[in-house]
């Protein structure tokens, strides 16, 4: 079934010519002999059921996956796949908008746009932000702040940033859009459609993947349908109809399900009652579910359906505020990978886990009975033959059936179905529906949230949600697709008049500003800066440092002199160098548990060789840096956890240190000691060094051309790699720099102590982690604050000093350090939870 794409469109030369492209994973071939030409200025809509091979094909074209067979030519030049990684695809004018958003939440909008831009940096930050603002104008009237971190944006705004990033890159020849409108409002989707048409008119080729057939019909010059990895259809999109598309996609004619919805008996027991539930993204929601009822929750994506299901699940078998639940519940998520699969286990174990508490006595599981139950459910689902297969080896549809089996095995009366048919093919869908029928027959109930309106035909009643409100309720035959869709776009009555309207159905009658909004619209500048201060990540470190300084000056007023300051700050110098090393690890999302001994080794080497054989000392210290580079290879290439790799390395560092010098001793070269005695009026040297270190750290994290990339890598390695950057290069940079700072810390220690001792810095390892975290780093990676870290180091060192002034054993400084750490973190977790 292939319309020859001949005629008028032959006149333009193909930008990409794909010939017999195939890709297999193990035994299964996902893409088979696909031949395709994509011409400049053409909008090609790629359709296909889930698992048809669309993503795989796009990955090969986009250069993130190597084909097993076949050739490809770009602009008439044959592509060598070995060198055709995503980076080179981008440099050849191919941009991609990913289905899973690939912006980095820890970077600002401007930085995200600059990250992939080929227009090289060298320009100022202001210039970067100006350019970002300009590029975002593809969505006129958007209110995205380019200086805000993407984590503060809504999903729709993130998607807009993502689209703007791909569509506004100069020199683009091909843009691949993978379901770009899933999070957008109608208005934004319209803007995108305009943009796509405009770009095509400029001569950019567009590949547009979508599941929304209306979108396909509206945009397509040409439609390509993939089925089972083969090119099933390739033809003119302008002459296609909705029904024809459905047929091409293999959809059996509308499954006219018998109206299984009967008028429910009013006397039925209510399993769940929700009244006036308000939560983040939920406003005054009320629903109820009776025994043996399937209740649908419809609405546009992100209208609060998932939040409602989660809130209901959290209240299972209990009464929490607005939710009264009479029964246990089981949750089935369509996001199998994140919320369903236990990937290390077999299908049977995956099903059995929910039933384990039922088949236990005194906490001990009766495995025979558990196995029997799991087996029964698997037999019912027709999965018995796969019971002992690893669950990850199953197809998406079968995985979903197994997860339904898990929910059923729990014997919970109420099933919460969160888009259970997401990403499964038609036959699996049908089998999931039939399971639902059985559920109902057995008197169990379900709440079904689905992104496909047609699925609500199964339901006895359907609630429709919009913007966190329940805006309509239909029962039985009333619940037609048209009505549901219409209700989805309704304006919740309490929201009327809030200015922005997503579509023209109900224009606001009166434009009244809510009191709360009015209050926030005119913030007092003092309050604003106070709020700004509270949200400053390094605030705990700053408070700690200031408090410790105040305490020190109060206890020892004569410390407030150049010499006094010098004494106060000297102890923190080696630790400050070390903290930068640890910070670089945390920047990359890693931890260095060997840092203290690496510093000890550098210290021993310096004290032993620097006087007599400086060359040996230098080479050996270079060896430490090389050791860190080696660790980068181990962590990056082999995927070993940095905790374990550096822990192993710590044995090696310590051992080497002891081999060089088993007992403390040695000497510091005169020039090194002289360097630390250097006077620079009016402040002690330590002040300048600490400030310089903080600024150097800041430059590494913010100012350097590479720093945006390093932060991106630290936050999300997978996305970073998929953008075509080398994670290995990034990690080597981070680790090598960390090694350099470790060596410097060892040298400073040598100068300060005048001797070498392999154990001298053994408590630095944990102290630096504490300081970096108190200073404002996030363990998610890619988010550190060098200034905060240095302030924390000063504060933590001063704790010991102050305890000395107070005549308390310095050993207690660890307790205060620990408390500071907990306080800082709980402060942050509190401010985070109030913010969200």
């Amino acid at each position: 079934m292939r319309d020859d794409p001949s005629g008028a469109r032959q006149d333009k030369a193909a930008f990409i010519s794909v010939r017999d492209l195939s890709r297999s994973f193990g035994a299964s071939t996902v893409v088979r002999d696909v031949t395709l030409d994509i011409r400049a200025g053409e909008i090609l809509v790629l359709l296909g059921p889930n698992g048809a091979g669309k993503s795989t094909l796009l990955n090969m074209i986009g250069g993130t996956l190597q084909p097993s067979a076949g050739t490809m030519a770009l602009d008439g030049q044959a592509v060598d796949f070995d060198s055709y990684i995503a980076g080179s695809a981008r440099s050849r004018g191919i941009q991609r908008v990913f289905q899973e958003l690939s912006t980095f939440p820890n970077l600002t909008v401007g930085e995200n746009l600059a990250l992939t831009s080929r227009q090289k940096a060298g320009s100022s930050r202001r210039e970067m932000m100006r350019r970002a603002r300009e590029r975002l104008q593809v969505f006129p009237g958007n209110c995205i702040d380019v200086c805000a971190e993407v984590s503060q944006l809504s999903v729709a705004e993130r998607q807009m940033v993502e689209i703007a990033r791909a569509m506004t890159e100069p020199g683009t020849h091909l843009v691949i859009l993978d379901e770009p409108t899933s999070a957008l409002s109608l208005q934004e989707a319209d803007q995108l459609a305009d943009l796509v048409s405009r770009k095509a008119a400029e001569g950019v080729a567009i590949i547009y993947v979508t599941h929304k057939l209306e979108e396909a019909l509206r945009l397509a010059d040409r439609v390509v349908v993939l089925r089972d990895g083969r090119l099933h259809f390739d033809g003119d999109g302008r002459t296609l109809t909705h029904d024809r598309l459905l047929t091409l996609l293999g959809a059996t004619a509308e499954p006219t399900m018998p109206a299984s919805a009967q008028v429910t008996d009013a006397a039925q027991r209510e399993l769940l009652t929700v009244r006036g539930l308000s939560a983040p993204r939920l406003h005054d929601v009320g629903i109820h579910v009776c025994e043996g009822e399937i209740v649908g929750i419809a609405g546009l994506e992100g209208a609060g359906q998932r939040e409602l299901l989660q809130a209901v699940f959290d209240a299972r078998r209990s009464t929490i505020g607005a939710i009264v639940s009479q029964s246990d519940m089981a949750y089935v998520s369509g996001d199998r990978k994140r919320e369903g699969l236990l990937p290390l286990w077999t299908v049977e174990d995956n099903v059995a886990i929910s039933a384990a508490p039922r088949f236990s006595r005194f906490g001990f599981v009766n495995f025979a009975a558990l196995k029997a139950t799991a087996g029964d459910w698997l037999a019912e689902l027709g999965l018995s033959h796969r019971a002992n297969s690893p669950i990850v080896s199953l197809s998406g549809g079968n995985q979903q059936r197994a997860l339904l089996g898990r929910a059923l095995a729990s014997e919970a009366q109420l099933l919460l179905l969160d888009d259970p048919t997401r990403g499964v093919d038609a036959s699996a869908k049908a089998s999931i529906y039939s399971i639902l029928d059985k559920v109902k027959e057995k008197g169990r109930s379900a709440i079904l949230y689905s992104t496909e309106v047609a699925e609500f035909q199964k339901c006895d009643r359907v609630y429709v949600m919009a913007r966190g409100h329940v805006v309509a309720e239909f029962s039985g035959a009333e619940a037609t697709e048209e009505r549901i869709v219409q209700a989805s776009f309704m304006q919740p009555s309490s929201l009327q008049g809030r200015g922005q309207v997503s579509n023209g159905t109900s224009p606001p009658k009166t434009v009244k500003v809510e009191p709360a909004a009015a209050a926030s619209a005119q913030p007092l500048s003092g309050q604003a800066s106070f709020g700004h201060l509270l949200s400053w990540r390094s605030l705990p470190a700053a408070l700690l440092m200031v408090a410790m300084f105040a305490l020190a000056f109060w206890l020892q007023p004569n410390a407030l002199s150049t010499f006094g300051l010098e004494l106060l700050l000297q102890a923190s110098m080696p630790l400050a160098f070390a903290v930068l090393a640890q910070m670089l690890f945390l920047l990359g999302g890693d931890i260095d548990l060997g840092l203290g001994f690496a510093i000890g080794l550098a210290n021993v080497l310096a004290a032993t060789y620097l006087v007599d054989a400086p060359a040996i000392a230098m080479i050996a210290m270079l060896g430490i840096v090389m050791g860190y580079v080696l660790l980068a290879f181990i962590v990056e290439i082999l995927g070993v956890s940095s905790v374990v790799a550096t822990l192993g390395a710590s044995f090696v560092w310590l051992g080497l240190g002891l081999m060089v010098r088993e007992t403390p001793g040695g000497q510091s070269p005169e020039w090194l000691a002289a360097l630390t005695r250097f006077k620079l009026w009016p402040l002690p040297l330590a002040c300048y060094v600490l400030l310089a270190l903080a600024l150097l750290g800041l430059w590494i994290c913010q100012g350097w051309g590479y720093s945006i990339r390093l932060r991106a890598l630290g936050h999300n390695r997978r996305t970073y790699v998929s953008l075509g950057f080398s994670a290995l290069a990034g990690r080597i940079t981070l680790y090598a720099l960390a090694g350099v700072f470790a060596v410097l810390s060892g040298l400073v220690l040598t100068a300060a102590t005048g001797a070498g001792n392999a154990h001298v810095a053994s408590n630095f390892t944990l102290a630096t982690i504490a300081a970096v975290v108190v200073g404002g780093a996030s363990f998610a990676g890619g988010l550190v604050s060098p200034i905060g870290a240095v302030m924390a180091v000063v504060g933590i060192s001063l704790i010991t000093t102050n305890l000395g002034f107070l005549g308390i054993s310095s050993e207690y400084s660890t307790a205060i350090g620990g408390l500071a750490l907990i306080t800082a973190l709980s402060f942050r977790s509190l401010s985070r939870s109030t913010a969200s």
Binding site: V392, S410, L647, G648, F651, L766, E811, I822, L825
Partner: protein, 332 residues
Amino acid sequence: MNQTTSIIDRPAPLPEAPVGLWRRLLRQSWIGALAAALFLWLLAGVVTGSLSLSFLLANATIAGFLALAGTAQMVVIASKPGNFDLSLPYVITFGAYIMSAGLLGQGNIAGSLALTVLAGGLAGALNALLIVRLRIPAIVATLASGYIIYSLIVAIQGGGFTRVGGLFEAALRLRIAGVSGALAATIATLALVAILLSRTVFGLQLHAMGQNGEAARLAGVRRGWLTLGTFVLSGVLAAWLGALLATYQGGVSADLGRSYLLGSVAAVVVGGTRITGGITSVLGTAIGALVLTLAQSDLILLQLSIGAQYVIQGLIVLGTVCLVAARSSNRG
């Protein structure tokens, strides 16, 4: 970064179809460690000129202590990817001090033991509280609580300490056919933990949570309580180890637990258990501990300096972890 493998490595609660015993044995994650332990024992035999079982058993007693620490660490590691218990060495030392402090009267060994275990459980509960309530990553929460426990140790350090002595010490030091009482006690403890992990709802749910916390929550696992159980178990094991060490060695010092931070993770890793969460193997950890202990004894026999001993131990850890990672990424 780490791909999931399809190999289930846990004490199989649901027995599989019968496979050849040998083939099944060879598929175990700890088989490499077992071979290494055998090799190290033979090496000691070659160096000393006689292959002695008592050498092995003497090492096993020391290895048993390490295995307890390793098991405590392993439970935490299995509960979530990236989880580590950095407070472990401090809890061990703390337990040892409480055991020898004789707070409930000098002769009251049972009372001291109960108090020690209770203190360990409380330390674990503190960790869990920080992790669950304040949503602090485990590695930082245990770092902070470790600091606080260390200060507690310093605070009680001044009080007098006596040998625990009595029947308990005698029992731990008693040797029957070369097997010390301490070794028997650790083996019994490890067996209990193995049963807890493989036969109970707690164990099953712990493995589920470690693989995919969100999926486990939606499958009805109460993550907060399970995390509490995990860290309490870890704390109790550590304190119990402290009590054993204090009694068996006849004294305590503030450094008692120090080597167990690195050692506990090393034992898990060398035992062949992947540390990506959701996997435990008490046997593997015990064998890993034996390998590390034997390696150290061999190096002492070979008259290597303390520095060289550390270097070689470090290389063993790095080598195994790289090997395990390389093997699993090939499979994935």
